[in-house]
């Protein structure tokens, strides 16, 4: 087996050193009835690199890759162009095959990168501090709700109807078992989010209000007034960002007063990857830092006075605090954070603004073209690179028919909000810089044909 370096002679010599007659002696503590002697039945034997590659290649070809044709899906995962150097750099063995930086003297590469990542994320989201990453946006969102409970000592979370349904579903699942009260609901196509009602629902038991920005239908709303309402009631405002590229063009949630900002960072550096691994962003005001979940990297000096970085404030974490920890998270999304950070460094502020502007341009162009399809209307007053179409028919079958024409034409609200008939004709369409004018024309023509 190509990954196993011990030779039969090595094994005999080592057994002799140990004083064991056979390898079975080393498994003597396993009760005889649980010990397996031969390889497990029904499973194939080892395979060559060529054979494995052939098998995996055949499976990969059974998927329609996003880049194989016109592609307009978003709803929490966005397809952006990732510069070639990002993937090259994250495959350097010193990054790829390192562990969590427990020994800082020989992990300054990872630690400095994390410090840079935290700084970039905090600036992008408009907050003071950010952590070294969470699993993804949806789990970061629940962790933020838990953090708000810890800070406010209240356990009722109000979720705006614009929050991604999977994020809501994760929070609902967890709340069912933790005793938190969750108030949530589906969005309406015809009307925007009712901000006044949301603010009015805040009461003395409310720990936090959670809003998504831009929201699941692509709409962009000012959260300043809501932040004020939260503050007045002693509740926290949590903002969720699933498309961080948007923040190159629109105000950061932190600027509008959000206390905790969480997000999905997949758009930068990471790619679609069929849903994971992704990178959860988690940021907040400095005064809450000791209540944060996850790893934090901080600046310090070494014994010779040289600047260096370490994991810090670990008395919040599971390995020190055990059942009193702020979270159970241990492994996070380090390598995806690196990809995010490299992509952000390549872009820089000027590049990010430009990238965001191109996305918005392209989306405006697509919205205008698609609105010309008979019976189709764009439901958004505002959007960044994603908007919702109202079709004259249920969107779900339309998506499948478009796929037959090799056009991946968005995510139907029927898929996102099954059982909600009022949303059945909605289609969420994302348009990034990877979409060409030809793609837009092909989509519009196919949609017209399918709806005719």
């Amino acid at each position: 087996m190509r990954y196993l370096p011990l030779t039969p002679d090595d094994r005999s010599a080592m057994l002799a050193t140990i004083g064991a007659a056979s390898i079975d002696d080393l498994f003597a503590d396993v009760p005889a009835e649980a010990r397996l002697d031969g390889p497990i039945a029904g499973l194939p034997p080892h395979a060559s690199e060529l054979a494995v590659e052939r098998h995996m290649g055949a499976l990969a070809r059974r998927n329609r890759a996003a880049g194989d044709g016109p592609f307009f899906l978003g709803a929490g995962a966005y397809r952006h162009h990732v510069p070639a150097s990002v993937d090259h750099l994250i495959q350097r063995g010193e990054f790829l095959t390192a562990y969590t930086p427990y020994q800082p003297e020989i992990a300054q590469g990872t630690l400095q990168m994390l410090f840079e990542f935290q700084s970039q994320v905090a600036r992008l989201l408009g907050t003071d501090v950010a952590n070294a990453s969470m699993y993804d946006g949806s789990t970061a969102c629940w962790e933020a709700i838990v953090m708000a409970r810890r800070i406010t000592k209240r356990a009722k979370a109000l979720l705006s109807t614009g929050v991604h349904p999977h994020y809501r579903s994760v929070a609902r699942t967890m709340a069912k078992y933790t005793g938190d009260v969750l108030v949530d609901g589906d969005p309406a196509l015809e009307a925007g989010t009712d901000w006044a009602a949301l603010a009015a629902a805040i009461d003395k038991d409310t720990s936090c209000v959670v809003v998504q920005y831009p929201d699941i239908l692509g709409r962009i709303d000012d959260m300043t007034a809501l932040a004020e309402a939260c503050q007045a009631a002693g509740a926290l405002l949590i903002a969720v960002v699933t498309e961080p590229v948007a923040l190159g063009l629109i105000k950061a949630p932190g600027e509008m007063g959000a206390d905790i900002v969480v997000g999905e960072g997949q758009s930068l550096g990471v790619g679609l990857q069929f849903g994971g691994p992704y990178v959860g962003l988690f940021a907040c005001k400095a005064k809450y830092v000791r209540q944060m979940p996850g790893r934090l990297c901080g600046e310090t000096v070494d014994a010779n006075g040289k600047r260096g970085f370490v994991l810090t404030l670990s008395t919040r974490e599971q390995h020190i605090r055990r059942e009193k920890a702020t979270s159970n998270i241990c492994t996070n999304s380090g390598l995806c954070a690196l990809a995010f950070s490299i992509h952000m460094t390549l872009l820089g502020e000027a590049g990010l603004r430009r990238l965001a502007a191109i996305n918005h341009d392209r989306a405006k162009m697509a919205a205008a073209e698609l609105a010309k399809v008979p019976g189709v209307s764009v439901m958004n007053d505002s959007f960044f690179n994603e908007f919702t179409l109202l079709l004259p028919a249920a969107a779900r079958p339309v998506v499948h028919t478009l796929a037959e024409k090799d056009i991946l034409g968005g995510v139907s609200l029927g898929r996102l909000f099954p059982g909600n008939d009022a949303l059945a004709n909605g289609l969420v369409v994302a348009v990034t810089e990877t979409v060409t004018e030809d793609d837009i024309a092909a989509f519009a023509a196919a949609l017209k044909e399918v709806l005719a």
Binding site: F27, G109, F274, C336
Partner: protein, 515 residues
């Protein structure tokens, strides 16, 4: 930035300054290169990506961002150099032995990286129409079948994002199962030797945690456990092989006792590498166990993640598994069971743990690894991992105290304590000494049940020659610690940094660039 030595290096500095001083003009030392922060070298005007022109803002709801963001950019050439230089300040499995106990730092095959990047996997959207991603579902299904067969369990939940998330999945299955029985049991029993994620997970899910006592041998005290069992016990969380590197001989008896009082058995499977292909947890009465694909199945740790923590489940807990999951259709092909179809297909599911379906990029890697080994190779993995650990244990137990050395062979990791070191010398000094010898240290101060614990896990991908050299190095450091060599107290001397001030870092946290 490090201060420059404008006078430059002079030969007498070697004698005077040793390795720790800033002796060159640049602060560099040949291949050891200092690297500033992007905030010190980049500018907000610089970009390493070329774009077409774009028109300015449009339908942004009046929220155009006007204030500066403060994100520095670098050209592509500078970016490649920045991160390449940073990478060289890291130790990694690609450079040498990384014997971090409980973490299973084995070789990460590059075939896995290659297949994960095939466009059908890497460039597929999780919400694509199901007929366009049958290959992705097939990967999930095929890996699931392997995990179920290797563990002898009933089914597997694939969506958890790491080990701790898998623990949460298993514990929520237990909670849902108890609820379905109409019982409100509040207590989970967890040994003191357990990883911190175990009690943290139990608390995160709303359970209270009580300790299970251990025997002097380093295993669960079955009699004491039985004495504590009763109608308030939701279950136990047992790590097997445990964090002392020992197989829990009484696992089946533990499971039977817990089941007899109506509780469930969670097994932390972080150490599955020791028994894969040789022992099936399903034969030991386990109800739920997470598998760290980033340990046993070689997906890279990436400096902290990502991981993936599928949870195998017994028949009793399977009905409560989370959404979504991939189901094989009788008529061929695969279908995703989500919230929408759950009522008919999986009505007792406890719900959803994450957006989309888990760590696809880790599934492809783990499957490539598993197929490469096959059933025979995986069995060899466990055997070689255990052989390597025992070889280390028996080659070191005359110079380092092995608290459970008399308890029989170890499994995949060897545990030592700080007993016998000279006054004022600690496990930390041994760890830092190993750094100077060119190794990543072992896991230190875990498990908590052993004073100054040193947990050494070599894994099966190390040769005898590598182990022999490591044994020589560790023996020499152990002797220095026993003899009180003061130079060890200030180790490492040859690393990019000397010991860092962690207390200062926590007292006045600087967590972001403030320039």
């Amino acid at each position: 930035m490090t201060a420059l030595n404008r006078a430059g290096w002079r030969p007498e500095m070697n004698a005077a300054g040793g390795a720790d001083d800033n002796v060159t003009f640049t602060g560099n030392r040949a291949l050891m290169l200092e690297e500033p922060l992007i905030f010190e070298i980049g500018s907000t005007e610089t970009t390493g990506v070329d774009f077409d022109e774009a028109a300015s803002a449009g339908d942004l709801g009046g929220l155009a961002r006007s204030a500066p963001i403060g994100l520095p950019g670098l050209s592509e050439s500078e970016t490649v150099r920045h991160y390449t230089r940073l990478s060289r300040q890291n130790y990694a499995i690609d450079l040498g032995l990384f014997p971090l106990g409980s973490c299973t730092m084995k070789h990460n095959p590059r075939l896995n990286e290659k297949v994960a990047r095939m466009s059908g996997f890497a460039d597929a959207h999780p919400l694509q129409p199901q007929e366009t991603v049958q290959g992705a579902y097939a990967v999930i299904h095929e890996l699931a079948e392997w995990l179920v067969t290797l563990t002898g369990m009933h089914s597997v939940a694939m969506s958890p994002k790491a080990g701790a998330h898998g623990e949460l999945c298993g514990i929520l299955c237990i909670k849902a199962a108890l609820e379905a029985r109409g019982e409100d049991r509040r207590v989970l029993l967890v040994p003191e030797s357990a990883h911190g994620t175990n009690p943290a997970t139990a608390a995160f899910a709303g359970f209270s945690v009580e300790d299970i006592p251990a025997t002097s041998e380093g295993r669960v005290d079955l009699a004491a456990l039985k004495a504590r069992l009763g109608p308030d016990i939701a279950g136990v969380m047992i790590t097997n092989p445990n964090t002392c590197g020992l197989f829990e001989r009484d696992m089946k008896a533990i499971s039977d006792a817990v089941h007899a009082v109506g509780g469930y058995v969670y097994c932390d499977g972080a150490n599955f590498n020791a028994i894969v292909g040789r022992v099936r947890p399903g034969d030991l009465g386990v109800d739920a166990m997470h598998i760290n694909l980033h340990k046993t199945f070689s997906t890279p740790h990436g400096g902290g993640g990502p991981g993936s923590g599928p949870v195998v489940l017994s028949e009793a807990l399977a009905p409560f598994a989370p959404l979504p999951f991939v189901a094989k259709q009788a008529e061929g092909g695969f279908r995703l069971i989500e919230e929408e179809s759950a009522d008919e297909q999986h009505p007792q599911s406890f719900g959803r743990m994450t957006a989309f379906h888990g760590q696809m990029g880790m599934f492809t890697r783990a499957l490539a690894y598993i197929l490469s080994h096959g059933a025979d190779g995986l069995k060899q993995v466990a055997e070689d991992a255990v052989l390597n650990a025992n070889y280390l244990l028996r080659s070191l137990d005359d110079v380092l105290d092995a608290p459970f050395g008399a308890s029989g062979p170890c499994m995949h990791e060897a545990l030592f304590s700080d007993r016998g070191l000279a006054e004022g010398f600690s496990t930390l000094d041994i760890a830092k000494g190993l750094i100077d010898e060119g190794y990543h240290p072992m896991t230190v101060y875990f498990p908590l049940v052993v004073h100054g614990a040193m947990l050494v896990e070599p894994t099966e991908t190390e040769s005898k020659a590598v182990l022999d050299q490591f044994i020589g190095a560790l023996r020499s450091i152990a002797m220095r610690a026993k003899n009180g060599d003061p130079a060890l107290k200030s180790a490492p001397h040859f690393a990019p940094r000397a010991r860092l001030d962690e207390t200062g870092a926590a007292r006045k946290p600087v967590l972001a660039w403030e320039g």
